[in-house]
């Protein structure tokens, strides 16, 4: 599922683009982007140990939180800002999107779909918070602070004046094209400022 998602990002990002990966982790994916698309990539990561791993890979990375990371850059410093799996962990979302759009024309965001059928069933029949492949941690250990569905995110984009240029949804079996809000576990979208 995540392999498909990452491959999709690689397809969307053009050669030699300027890319900022927010929440770059140990830099594995950013390194792949640099290798396969020869992007000028930089990362932001909070964890010092992961930052050291990024340095080992030869990546330029800023240790700090996402807002601090964005603050380091001038307007339009990047072509793409990546928020892969981090968006649901961050607050405040609106300010974050505005800051990201200041430094970059386009955003690529991925998130877990809270309206996936398995989530709905678990909630409805066990009466407890869901634990699924895309939401693997129990409620008390999850880094997620926002729980939203694909439809929720659409509404959010509308309110923020974001246009969805591309969208790709996935579940364990691959790409989901039909009834994504019910069937997809994770969603990935390419956004830019502008009317829908």
């Amino acid at each position: 599922m995540y392999q498909n998602l990452y491959s999709q990002v690689i397809q969307w990002v053009p050669e030699r683009a300027r890319v900022l990966d927010l929440g770059a982790g140990d830099g594995e994916f950013l390194e792949r982007l640099v290798r396969e698309k020869r992007v000028a990539g930089e990362g932001v990561e909070l964890d010092a140990v992961k930052v050291t791993r990024c340095i080992e890979r030869g990546l330029a990375v800023h240790q700090g939180d996402v807002m601090d990371g964005l603050d380091q850059y001038g307007d339009g410093a990047f072509d793409y800002v990546l928020l892969l799996g981090t968006f649901q962990e961050l607050r405040p979302s609106e300010k974050l999107v505005r800051e990201a759009l200041r430094v970059s024309r386009r955003l690529i965001v991925s998130y877990s779909n809270f309206a996936h059928v398995r989530v709905r069933f678990q909630m409805a029949f066990t009466g407890r918070s869901p634990v699924t492949q895309a939401l693997p941690s129990p409620w008390y250990r999850t880094p997620n602070i926002h729980f939203f569905s694909i439809l929720d995110f659409e509404d959010f984009c509308g309110e923020m004046g974001l246009r969805e240029v591309e969208r790709a949804c996935f579940n364990a079996r691959g790409r989901v094209r039909w009834l994504p809000n019910l069937r997809a576990e994770v969603a990935l979208c390419l956004l830019e400022a502008g009317p829908k």
């Binding site: 930052v51 050291t52 340095i55 080992e56 890979r57 330029a60 800023h62 603050d71 380091q72």
Partner: protein, 409 residues
């Protein structure tokens, strides 16, 4: 006990009581002195000749592309690593410079030189003024961080190094690295400023001024014209004591001393008759002060702290203008517990560099030992620097390969 704690127990290498069993992987290392003709300071003073003391470790590559200049801080000198043949002491950065260490002498050619204005072999206020035959004293011209770097650039010419692979240093050493990147953009590939800033804050200037006042109010100072046998040692020791407090953290002081009292036998300070309690931390500071006096010149302390205070990377100009020509890639490191050069100053530096389109990596380590964190045995710091140099050297080599290929075509 964690590795870092063990390192702290050993302390930084310049003033701690280092046991006879301390072994450096480099063995005995030597410092040299070179005399360079003609040097003009930023203030316009002309030296007929300039002496610089320096140390080199490792081997310069055939392509002459593996030179790392280590810039020392306020109290450092050219003896960066290995054991000094004179006093058997290890170099001030022996934890981080050596075979397989953060700055790998198996791979890189490491140079460290005593700064202009210093007192460990380079021309400074203690040097004899050829016009009077006496030490310069306060007739020595004011020196700046830029002067120090200009002198280092002359040393690189002398050593036949057209371009540094890197300049690295903490505190004042970091300032020198930044000046290298700004003033000599074509002569440096990457720059590692550690626990430093673009310009001193009022607080940093204030602490330095307390130190300077301690020296100049010592009756032995005599407007800087003191004799070798009656130097303002007490003033210098107090200056060092104040300085040392600012290099530690609340945590390191609590861990190291707490409220423990010093043994009776060792407590030999004069006013003990009035106040019998003598805390361990007091004894430690006295030791630091006394040890410093033995190896540092009071006038040098005045000149170098003034150079620190007057340093301003931007000098009231727009960052875009100052940093326009910068080509170096940066690795900025700060320490969460450093309250003398707080992480906020490093972040400001990072932001200024990044917003002027420099490529910067920033790491803020949670080492708890204050400003001294870069001087102690610090594995997390060591690993990060090692990784950075490793990947940057690979990048430099691949760039070089591409250009030579392009030239052949």
């Amino acid at each position: 006990m964690s590795e870092t704690q063990k390192g702290f127990e050993q302390g930084d290498l310049q003033d701690q009581r280092i046991g006879k069993d301390y072994k450096s992987d480099l063995g005995v290392t030597h410092t040299h002195t070179v005399t360079l003709p003609g040097f003009r300071t930023q203030s316009g003073f002309e030296f007929d000749e300039l002496e610089l003391s320096y140390q080199t470790l490792g081997t310069l590559s055939h392509e002459r592309d593996n030179a790392i200049l280590v810039c020392h801080a306020l109290s450092g000198d050219a003896h960066v690593a290995g054991i000094s043949p004179k006093n058997r002491r290890p170099g001030w950065w022996d934890y981080h410079v050596g075979p397989g260490k953060a700055i790998d002498t198996d791979k890189f050619f490491v140079i460290c030189s005593n700064v202009l204005g210093g007192c460990s072999g380079s021309t400074g206020p203690g040097t004899l003024n050829p016009r009077t035959g006496k030490p310069y004293g306060m007739a020595f011209p004011p020196v700046t961080i830029r002067d120090m770097v200009a002198a280092q650039a002359r040393l690189m010419d002398h050593l036949g190094i057209p371009r540094l692979f890197a300049a690295i240093g903490g505190s004042m050493g970091g300032m020198q690295g930044l000046v290298w990147a700004v003033d000599y953009p074509n002569r440096i590939h990457c720059c590692v400023p550690i626990a430093t800033c673009m310009a001193h804050s009022a607080m940093q200037i204030a602490f330095n001024e307390v130190g300077r006042q301690a020296i100049v109010s010592d009756p032995n100072w005599k407007n800087g014209a003191y004799e070798a046998r009656s130097r303002p040692e007490h003033g210098l020791a107090v200056a060092r004591m104040v300085g040392h407090v600012t290099y530690l953290s609340e945590f390191s002081m609590r861990e190291k001393f707490g409220r423990a009292l010093q043994d009776e036998a060792k407590a030999k300070r004069t006013y003990r008759a009035f106040f019998p309690e003598f805390f361990k931390v007091e004894s430690y500071l006295h030791y630091q002060g006394d040890s410093f006096v033995g190896r540092f010149d009071p006038n040098s302390y005045l000149y170098i702290t003034k150079a620190l205070d007057t340093f301003d990377l931007l000098d009231n100009r727009l960052p875009a203008e100052v940093l326009k020509a910068v080509k170096a890639r940066f690795f900025v490191v700060s320490f969460e517990s450093d309250w003398l050069y707080p992480p906020a100053q490093s972040r400001e530096l990072v932001k200024t560099l990044k917003r002027s389109n420099a490529v910067v990596t920033y790491l803020n380590l949670d080492t708890r030992y204050g400003h001294d964190s870069f001087l102690i045995d610090n594995p997390a710091f060591s690993r990060a620097v090692h990784n950075f140099f490793d990947s940057e050297y690979r990048r430099l080599r691949s760039q070089l390969k591409k250009t030579t290929q392009a030239l052949r075509l």
